[in-house]
């Protein structure tokens, strides 16, 4: 008997867009991690240069209304933004994933109740939920992170449920059930390994939306509080100087834009790779 090799995974063709996304993301993540070493000034130090100075060699991104170095602030802001994004996505995915799996494997009543609740919450935009929660919890970086995490739960619950429910009706799951395997083990051994890949993709896509929410909340003064250099907060403080010193808005805005873009590019390419319709039956 010969062993067929028809499904040995072919090396996926790396597209230029995913390379662009990966490159940008690497630069952004490295720059944020190494911010204390890279930054020429303390991001909180006032009068590091002249007030509202245009970009120059001394101040690459210029300075703000207090003379703080914008390059240092944007770098330091990256740590805050990425930190909020990662913690919010990880906790949102964990809670949403458990809810989604419970809906898919917890019996008909659990499924019906959980799905209705998820659907109602999912019909509100994430930012709106985050906004309402922060209004309730009070502003601040921890509360903003918590609010963003909670706002992502319906999305991840919905996605996990969809993936798990598709897996649930496959014959191999039915065969495992017939062998007498209970739901807990079924989810752990059979379902999770098969949907994990798709969940990672969804996490990447959720990450950019979390960063946008964080910037939005900080811009509104509900997230990271001044003088902490979060990107949204820098935008908010600079909006009065939009004509006199547009660089205060351009650089943090660009940082948000490129971060979201890079993670969206990566997420989209990963999704294409994980799309079962593009994969041969294995």
């Amino acid at each position: 008997m010969t062993v067929l090799s028809q499904t040995v995974p072919r090396r996926p063709r790396v597209s230029p867009t995913v390379l662009l996304g990966l490159g940008l993301a690497t630069i952004i993540v490295l720059a944020s991690l190494l911010a204390p070493m890279l930054a020429p000034f303390d991001p909180l130090r006032m009068a590091a240069g002249p007030r509202l100075a245009a970009p120059s060699l001394a101040h690459l991104f210029g300075t703000d209304e207090f003379g703080r170095d914008l390059f240092s602030r944007v770098l330091a802001g990256g740590r805050l933004s990425l930190g909020i994004g990662i913690s919010a996505v990880v906790s949102g995915l964990l809670v949403g994933g458990v809810v989604g799996l419970a809906a898919a494997f917890g019996g008909r009543l659990t499924e019906a109740v959980l799905l209705r609740v998820i659907d109602v919450l999912y019909s509100f935009p994430d930012t709106l939920i985050a906004l309402a929660l922060v209004a309730f919890l009070g502003p601040g970086i921890e509360n903003a992170t918590l609010a963003i995490a909670i706002s992502l739960v319906p999305f991840y619950a919905r996605v996990t449920y969809g993936l798990a429910a598709a897996e649930r009706s496959k014959p191999y799951i039915e065969a495992a059930r017939l062998a007498g395997i209970r739901s807990g083990r079924l989810v752990r051994v059979h379902v999770m390994p098969n949907i994990g890949q798709s969940l990672v993709v969804m996490a990447t896509l959720g990450f950019s939306s979390a960063i946008l929410s964080a910037a939005g909340l900080s811009f509104l003064g509900l997230g990271v509080q001044p003088p902490s250099p979060e990107w949204g907060a820098i935008l908010a403080s600079g909006r009065n100087y939009i004509t006199k010193a547009p660089w205060i808005l351009i650089f943090p805005g660009l940082a948000i834009c490129l971060t979201v873009l890079s993670f969206n590019l990566i997420g989209d390419s990963l999704r294409d790779l994980a799309d079962p319709r593009r994969k041969a039956r294995s």
Partner: protein
Amino acid sequence: MNRPHCLAVENLRKSFHSGGRVVRALNGVSLQLHQGETLGVIGESGSGKSTLGRIAVGLDTASAGSVMIDGERLEALTPALRRQRLRTCQMIFQDPYSSLNPRLTIGRQIGEGLLSAGMSDWRAIRQVVEDLLERVGLKREMHDRYPHEFSGGQRQRIAIARALAPGPRIVVADEPVSALDVSIQAQILDLMAELQAEKQLSYLFISHDMAVIARLCDRIAVMHRGRLVETGPARSVIEAPAHPYTRMLLDAVPRFGRRRSGARPVSVTLPQHGDDDVLVTIADGHQVLRSNGS
């Protein structure tokens, strides 16, 4: 045919709701599977034969009617007891690709049935699994391979090993060879026949292919639109089909067909059966559904 029956269904009904319409998959089907026999269930797609098999192993529940294992009504049992009884019923699925988990070694997949049957030592399980692999014609060292490394026929052997692991007495095979090449089909059917003799299994063998059914089955049950229209010993049903639908199915198989004369097949009108039609015995163990009033 007075052997005791191990699996019986009585007046089984099942309807699905799809888009506001009610689809009746089963319209009062009664059947007995005797110990050690192979009962072939044949019918076109949509005739309800797969639904029957799924209800028999507990993957679906009937809208009405009852399933009995060794004369015990499953509906009357507690869920825990029902699960325990149903463990004696295993299933072989049609598609050998989607019926194996792509991300689990085949050894683990076969071994899980032993785990839930009470074995807990993975080394002991491995031993049993390797014996099973060898028994179904694979190699012991294939234990740690993944499903994608196997061909369709090999996968179906793995699926058979998995079905046998919990030690069932009843195996429902839902089109187990229709996804395979004809040359492989024969090997799998032979393997199933050997295993049956060895382990005193009873097979409920579901297929749309009369040639496959004729090769393996002791008795045949013909289903059409959710009803049992004819049932009897394989030889009797094939040689003297009494229901027009059975004749039509047989005519479609060149080996049994009556087309060798070159005559064009006459179009038959199939009777529309109602709920008060009854199965009439026409020979020893051979029954056919007759329309009341005709």
